[in-house]
């Protein structure tokens, strides 16, 4: 009971701290437009407000005016602008260009107005002004000397957090592996909170996800399932820490992960899988319907994986930001008392959504890894009856079939190399449609 009161009093205190801050800043809110979507979107800087902002390196694969390709690298957006090699493209981002549209009139002198680039800011002086007011952060950069950016290889906020997650996962599990190598957990019982906790999760992934979905031949795929699970989990959780960002709330990140699953699935698929895709198991007159459906089905699975993870991880943050934003809205519309009242409600609701997000972080990591395992399991399975594919998968009464499944070499890594190649191919494709 006393604990409940303690918790309540802290919540009330938090509300009291939050509400005056909200009331004090309507002017500030008008100055810099705050958008929940913008906050969730990727950016080229790390936001440590109120302590500051860390700009990230910009790397551009650029097609110069002469038609040749080049790679430009700068330490930050500001240095790219200061160097004169790049300038901000107007109309690129709302926040950046709106505030600077007033001074957009007297430009043009130093600009070589290119077809696809409507002239925005002027030369070096204007860039300094943008940097001073911070509007360069959201700006889209274009080469000042003509040409266009083919691929923006800039290090972004979400990449930083994905890297951080990868480092954390690698560090934690390599340290854990060293413990096992020493013999703790190999010959003896696992010792300590971390080892017990992580081992429980690893055993859960193995026994509840990989084994049921992949059958007895789960072993070659277990490392992939485990890696995906822990990487996504840590990415999700990094979004819950102060100054953190959720890398998995970026559609590109989730799409890359889904493409990995897709490639692992297709490269290990059994002949039965392809027969099914090509409609060999359906009556011939259904082929015109079945083949397109099956082929579309191949791609909808990873698409659904990517969108599900992205939407779930974005939604929680958007809801929290909207709830906080509601305080400002109510304050502006109905006055301070409404703002205070909404403050209490919003903080309580945000707390609820936040805890829900922690739950969702685990659930979505589980769902992504589980479905990856399931898709791989469906593709590698040799089965007699294609129509009952899903049923077979969940049916434990057919262990013999799983045993008979031909031993497919995992080729996880070879698949991944192909992924890299494909990635490069994709960049090649993006070269072609871009107009000079």
């Amino acid at each position: 009971m006393t604990r409940l009161f303690k918790t309540l009093s802290i919540a009330v205190l938090a509300a009291f701290l939050a509400v005056p801050a909200a009331l004090a800043s309507p002017a500030a809110a008008e100055e810099e437009e705050f958008s929940a979507v913008h906050h969730n979107a990727d950016s080229n800087y790390l936001d440590f407000k109120p302590f500051g902002i860390v700009e990230l390196p910009r790397i551009f694969l650029v097609r110069r005016a002469g038609g040749s390709f080049g790679l430009d690298a700068y330490a930050s957006t500001a240095s790219a602008l200061r160097s004169g090699g790049y300038r901000a493209k107007s109309g690129g981002h709302g926040g950046g260009s709106d505030s600077s549209s007033g001074e957009g009139g007297d430009h043009g002198s130093g600009d070589q107005g290119h077809g696809n680039v409507s002239p925005g800011h002027g030369g070096g002086g204007s860039a300094e002004a943008m940097i001073a007011e911070g509007s360069h952060l959201g700006a889209t950069l274009v080469p000042a000397g003509g040409g266009h950016v083919v691929v923006d290889f800039s290090i972004t906020k979400h990449l930083i957090f994905a890297l951080l997650a990868a480092l954390l996962v690698a560090g934690v599990f390599i340290a854990l592996a060293r413990r096992y190598k020493r013999g703790v957990g190999r010959e003896t019982a696992p010792k300590g909170t971390w080892q017990n906790m992580l081992e429980t999760v690893i055993v859960f992934v193995r026994d509840e996800m990989a084994r049921p979905a992949l059958g007895n031949n789960y072993r070659p795929y277990l490392p992939y399932i485990l890696s995906v699970f822990f990487f996504i989990l840590v990415c999700n959780l990094l979004g819950m820490v102060p100054f953190g960002a959720t890398a998995t709330s970026n559609i590109t990140v989730t799409a890359v992960l889904a493409v990995f699953t897709f490639i692992v699935t297709q490269f290990n698929a059994s002949s039965d899988h392809w027969k099914e895709v090509l409609g060999a198991e359906a009556p011939w007159w259904l082929a015109p319907i079945m083949i397109p459906i099956e082929i579309i089905g191949l791609f909808t699975k990873p698409f659904a994986l990517a969108v599900r993870l992205f939407a779930n991880m974005t939604a929680g943050h958007l809801v929290i930001l909207s709830l906080i934003g509601l305080i400002f809205t109510m304050n502006d519309l109905f006055g301070a008392s409404w703002g205070v009242f909404t403050g209490f409600a919003s903080v309580a609701f945000s707390l609820f959504i936040f805890t829900l997000e922690i739950l969702v972080a685990f659930i979505q990591a589980y769902v992504f890894a589980m479905l990856s395992a399931l898709f791989i399991g469906m593709a590698i399975e040799d089965h007699g009856d294609g129509a009952a594919e899903m049923m077979d998968e969940a049916d434990p009464s057919q262990p013999m079939q799983r045993d008979e499944r031909r031993d497919i070499s995992p080729s996880l890594l070879s698949g991944n190399h192909d992924e890299e190649e494909e990635e490069l191919e994709q960049s090649d494709h993006s070269l072609q449609p871009a107009p000079a």
Binding site: A166, V169, A170, F173, I174, I202, L222, Y224, S227, F231
Partner: protein, 163 residues
């Protein structure tokens, strides 16, 4: 940047990152961890099996021991009983032998006495005959033939009841 716009540069870096992560984890983390866990599970399984086998074996040995103990007990009792019986028998035999000896000695003594008595009687008889003859000679003053007289006395004595 838009929420839904794809970013090929990010995709490239992330692919690289994830590939390295997959490789590093597979090589240095999941391999040792999963193999260690499997090894441990196998050890535990075999330990349990061994313990069960040992338990069964111990129970068997215990049963054997119990049986052996019971048998030994029975044997001991049997030996004891036999010894007792033997001792009894031996005593009986001893007693019987002693008895026989005693009887024999008694018999011998008896015979001896009988013999002594007989010889004494005979002596007495001859003595008495002599005395009678002397007495009769004296009475009859008749000198009879010693041998003839003697025969007459013997016949007389034979006619006398025994004892």
């Amino acid at each position: 940047m838009n929420l839904l716009s794809p970013n090929w540069g990010l995709a490239f870096w992330l692919t690289l990152t994830f590939l390295i992560l997959l490789f590093v984890l597979r090589r240095y983390a999941w391999g040792p961890i999963v193999s260690a866990m499997e090894e441990r599970e196998k050890t535990i399984d075999s330990s349990i099996q061994r313990a069960e086998e040992a338990l069964a074996e111990a129970k068997e040995i215990q049963a054997d021991n119990e049986k052996a103990r019971r048998e030994a007990e029975q044997k001991a009792q049997r030996i004891l009983r036999e010894a007792r019986e033997q001792a009894e028998q031996l005593r009986d035999e001893e007693r019987q032998k002693t008895q026989e000896q005693i009887d024999e000695m008694k018999q011998q003594a008896h015979d001896e006495i009988e013999r002594e008595k007989q010889s004494a009687l005979n002596e007495l008889r001859s003595e008495v005959a002599d005395l009678a003859v002397q007495a009769a000679g004296k009475i009859l003053h008749e000198d009879m033939n010693q041998d003839h007289q003697r025969r007459m006395v013997d016949e007389f004595l034979e006619d006398l009841p025994r004892n």
